[in-house]
Subunit: 348 residues, 2 copies
């Protein structure tokens, strides 16, 4: 049986990089595990053309697939016809919440030949497990006397033992397969209500993983440590908003913001998980064959791993690493040339 | 009339660095503007000895002063007799909230002779104006079914037009006296309720400052920009929690976490403002004369500026810069030697 794949190429450079990711995915997969892609036209373009963000019928179709591969969504910055946040909340977050993607997986590592912005150019390799379905991302809260001098606006972070425990357990399991160190990042000294449930469940789940070392770090201190000693991290587990912030800094310190891959994962496999590069749709370079498809290809590798196709996942990762080691700043390659080169290494 | 000063030396290296800050403060101030310090014994030590964090009577005494100089508070990490967060909430945040320190002022600049952790060692100079009295720091929220698998914990960010407008106006006024650029940092695409009031009031107050350029940046993207292009910032205005996170990264990228000064300011001057180094109490090096008092001295300079003693403030800053330019990594100086050297330059 082939794996059904919902492909959302999206906007800007999204379609270009997705084409290359699919090329490599196909190349890496033995016939018995072939993919059957269905393309969904979603994103800024569709919204501007039709006023639709994510019709319910399409959400239900997508839900029926084994996995989702997304390129990038987003229109031109400041487009007056595109209300701010509409695609983020109506499409990206909607998919995360509807498909219960409670593990937002963001590996962060340095790459051969890619300089970090840090002095001394350290090497490191860690993973952030960001909670994806609760915290300050639920949209909970509201506004009283909006637009007046008496306006009061609230933003409510919702944290449940159910939601925290499952993501913390996933993070411990990942740490156990890696260097056996887990760091909880939060702000327990100020956010006492949410902090207490994160703290308690981390301690509790730790009992099931006695071989994993547990550390705690305030989110503000984490900023300093990510810049001064990123080598110390193995698996970071954190809430939805802190994870958003920490993973952008993590990507920045690798020097490869454009190379970062991510997964929106439902580890229970009751819904399709979604894999996407962290970079945006970069409308300024769209359609010129200038986009680097590496992050999309690495996202495809995460997808393979999630589906249990470990050998294929490893071969894609190795092909990317080999390609990177060979890159030369003097030779500019097009999007498809990079995709071809990586696909060829996968084959070889 | 002398300026009355409530001095809270605190714990660890707090008293040592405060002594030097007072030395320099006194040296910098003409007789007519002399300071009259009263010391308040508050912090981990007092709590461990007496069980008191901040007795109401002391808070009222402190409120009667013209300004507050704080060293650092905090006991030994993991001390079982010191409940986590008790000093943070009972003392530091209590003072900020009770004294309505709505401008948490955190300058961030590179220093002569201090290498940044960034490749290429850029030079930059910006100020973060962090809201200090609302947002997720109000303690609002709670826990239902705590300690059970059905626990639900909420954390409520409170944002008022009153609170946002006043801090945004303060930030614009600072930008107008600097390089005339203000960057609002928030997460308006997700935190829509709070984001709307921050966005609206930034646009509104901008009308009063037509010569100040206004920019907006999501907090996650700000992580990347602080690492890759910190030179672009002049004044950043942001909420209490984002400000906590952004200022630690800002301090980290200057390379001088131990040099960062801060003010908890009530620009209306209806209460005393409080000035403190950003560094902690560093119990591991306390009492050894090893602590660098520079951040405490720079905090005293912010205090002088706040009280309108601009010439004195400038002379302290210049003395610090001159001292830094002369520092040599081979010559280790004690806390009091550094204080003496800076005081001497102020005098000279
Ligand atoms: C686009 C936005 C809603 C999203 C987030 O905040 O989660 C993005 O920043 C991310 O990290 O995937
Ligand atoms: C100690 C803590 C409560 C405090 C804060 O979160 O504001 C500190 O991190 C700071 O930035 O001054």
């Amino acid at each position: 049986m082939p794996h059904t794949l919902a492909v959302i190429p999206g906007d800007g450079i999204g379609p270009e990089v997705t084409t290359e990711a699919l090329k490599v995915l196909t190349q890496a997969t033995p016939a018995a595990d072939a993919f059957e892609p269905t393309t969904y036209d979603l994103g800024a373009e569709r919204y501007l053309r039709t006023g639709e963000v994510l019709p319910d019928s399409l959400l239900e179709e997508i839900r029926g697939h084994d996995a989702i591969l997304l390129g990038a969504v987003g229109g031109r910055p400041g487009d007056p016809n595109l209300p701010p946040g509409i695609l983020e909340r109506g499409l990206l977050l909607k998919l995360r919440f509807e498909l219960d993607h409670y593990v937002n997986l963001r590996p962060s590592r340095t790459w051969p030949g890619v300089a970090t912005p840090l002095a001394g150019d350290p090497e490191f390799d860690f993973v952030v497990v960001r909670e994806g379905t609760e915290g300050p991302y639920t949209g909970n809260g509201g506004t009283l006397r909006g637009g007046t001098p008496q306006e009061v606006a609230t933003e409510v972070s919702l944290n449940t033992a159910f939601g925290v425990e499952r993501v913390v357990r996933d993070a411990f399991a990942r740490a156990q397969k890696r260097r056996k160190k887990l760091t909880l990042v939060h702000k327990t000294n100020v956010l006492v209500h949410a902090g207490a449930v994160w703290w308690r469940l981390t301690q509790q789940v730790a009992q099931e993983f006695p071989d994993v070392e547990v550390d705690y770090m305030h989110v503000d201190a984490t900023m300093i440590h990510l810049v001064t000693r990123p080598q110390q991290f193995d698996v970071i587990v954190t809430d939805n908003l802190f994870g958003d912030i920490v993973t952008d800094l993590a990507a920045a310190v690798t020097g490869g913001i454009g190379l970062a891959a991510s997964g929106n994962v439902n580890p229970d496999r009751t819904t399709p998980s979604m894999f996407e590069p962290v970079h945006g749709s970069a409308p300024d370079i769209a359609g010129q064959g200038k986009a680097d498809p590496t992050a999309a290809i690495l996202s495809a590798a995460l997808l393979l791993e999630h589906l249990g196709l470990d050998a294929a996942a490893r071969s894609v990762e190795e092909a990317v690493l080999a390609d990177m080691a060979d890159r030369s700043p003097e030779v500019a390659r097009s999007t498809s040339e990079i995709g071809d080169a990586i696909a060829k290494r996968v084959a070889g």
